[in-house]
Amino acid sequence: MQDTVLHLQGASKRFGSTVAADSIDLAVGAQEFFAVLGPSGSGKTTMLRMIAGLERPDSGRISIGGSDVTNLPPYRRGIGMVFQDFLLFPHKTVAENIVFPLRMQGMAETAKQENLEWVLNLVHLTGLEKRYPHQLSGGQKQRVALARGLVSRPALLLLDEPLANLDRELRKEMEIEIRRFQLELGIPFIYVTHNQEEALIMSDRIAIMRNGRIEQVGDKLDLYHNPGTAFVASFLGSPNAFEGRVVTVQDRHAVVDWFGNRVDARVNGALGAGDTAACFVKSEKIVIRPLSGGGDGLLSGVVRDIIFKGQYADYIVALDGKREIIVSGPPQLGFRRRDTRVVLSWGVDDCDAFAAGR
């Protein structure tokens, strides 16, 4: 087990009557790329600000590198941060922006220069030292912000939705770059985002937050394939969600009745026969075959539309007058026409069932 660099214990914060953070416990290790994922208002930014020292928790403790920093002001915590709007100092050059943290530490001139050169190399910004922020492109500003956060080789780096303001192409590029930086530096990155794709691409572990609490935290693949709550199941991937009545339960295998059809699901939590279950099955886990192929399945329907997405396609299958399921699969599946009758099936572990109403 890696050393824990960041440790939150029971950190809570409220603003007026709103609880922004509700007793958060978190431990992040030395080499981790840790994503905090959640919808807006989930408290992820508040948590990040508490770690940075910009908000003081009403209760609980925060420690970095083993020392309790709960009551330390931000300028004594020795961390780096990358902000959503970059927040580069407009009156300073790229070089001056980047060495700012080093200046605050009182570092000697030669050491500053060395660090500056090192980080400029890292983010591929050599040559732009004398420019001002307003003369830079979005991508360049992003790199300067990253450089500034990394230059002092802090104990950890906080990132607050840093790619939100970049266009798609740039974002894809930066996602890989940022991952690379983390691997090279070997310090923990705490990456806050509402974009689950980003989180899944870049991170090792993910914490999913909702209403100020951490719903689930764990390895990203684990969270993806084995969601612990209905919310997590609905948040990651592109799930089809439906409610049905549990018919039988054996160990963790449930048979759920969905508008007359019996489908298999994996049980999470307490679920008994007769209960209403909220079920989630990710679109890529459903197997779709034409009816004419003589296949047997859990559900049958008609392909209403096919949405071609390049590497894969979404098949919108109408099950009856009202219900639809979206299946993701390779674009050429032998039936590229609408109105084909198809059968759908999935394995027990591909569909997660939870007690409805959470």
């Binding site: 002001p73 941060m81 927040l87 407009p90 700012f100």
Partner: protein
């Protein structure tokens, strides 16, 4: 077509306002260079009025006093107003709306009241005669409100998260202020200084009640005005107008460059 008409009408109204505002001033400037100030046509240029202005000691003294009052007021007002504006915009403390109201209140109190109240207060309760010092203090109450407005209007565009960023990177609040905030907002502060200076420099009633016989340029001008025509007065008016416009030009440049810095997100 209708759009163009209303645009034309609006432009006309705007122009008439500026003509209304500036015609008298421009005329005075014109007259100050003329020999005959009553019917200065055809134009006969002369600089004698300016010369005689310069030669008279009392105007010199007036200038000195006005400058002192102006600078004193400018310094006090801009400092107090800047501190308050930063506090009100930066910190979400309950009661900041009240504070803002307090600082804007002097705008709604007439000069006369400020002048006489400070005079009476000083004389009767503190036993001090009116002097340049008390004139500065009295002017500062009024000017602070203006300075507050100027700084507030500019500062509203400042992104306080820059301060937060600086602190995360190790800058203490005071280092943050001098390294990040001040370099970005100083045009606004200086602008507040200029406005306060001008207000106090040209103020009649507040200064008058506190100074009585001690001359300031406005009181001298007032005295001249009571005697009817005075060519020196027009020369004085022209000079002061020139000074005001010069300073406002400086203010304009400052605010423009200030915009460029503070609005860094505008590409």
């Amino acid at each position: 077509m209708t759009i163009n008409m209303s645009r034309i009408v609006q432009t006309l109204i705007l122009i008439t306002l500026y003509v209304f505002l500036y015609a008298p001033i421009l005329y005075v400037v014109y007259v100050s260079f003329q020999e005959n100030s009553v019917w200065p046509f055809p134009p006969a240029l002369t600089g004698q009025h300016y010369e005689s202005l310069w030669d008279q000691d009392v105007y010199r003294a007036g200038l000195e006093n006005s400058l002192t009052i102006g600078v004193g007021t400018g310094v006090i007002a801009s400092l107090l107003a800047t501190m308050a504006a930063i506090a009100v915009l930066r910190y979400r403390i309950r009661g900041r709306a009240m504070v803002a109201a307090l600082f804007l209140a002097p705008l709604f109190v007439s000069h006369v009241l400020i002048g006489i109240s400070s005079l009476i207060f000083n004389k009767s309760l503190l036993g001090l005669p009116g002097n340049v010092g008390s004139a500065i203090l009295a002017n500062a109450t009024y000017a602070t409100a203006f300075a507050f407005l100027v700084v507030l209007a500019q500062l509203a565009r400042y992104d306080w998260r820059l301060d937060e960023a600086a602190m995360v990177f190790g800058a203490t609040p005071s280092v943050t202020f001098f390294q990040v905030t001040l370099p970005l907002i100083w045009p606004a502060v200086f602008g507040a200084f200029i406005v306060s200076f001008l207000l106090a420099f040209n103020n009649l009633e507040i200064s008058f009640y506190n100074l009585g016989a001690t001359p300031t340029l406005p009181t001298l001008a007032w005295g001249e005005l009571r005697h009817g025509i005075s060519e020196e007065l027009y020369a004085l008016a022209a000079l002061i107008n020139f000074a005001v416009f010069l300073l406002l030009g400086v203010l304009y440049v400052l605010l423009r460059t200030g915009f460029l810095k503070i609005d860094y997100r505008v590409e």
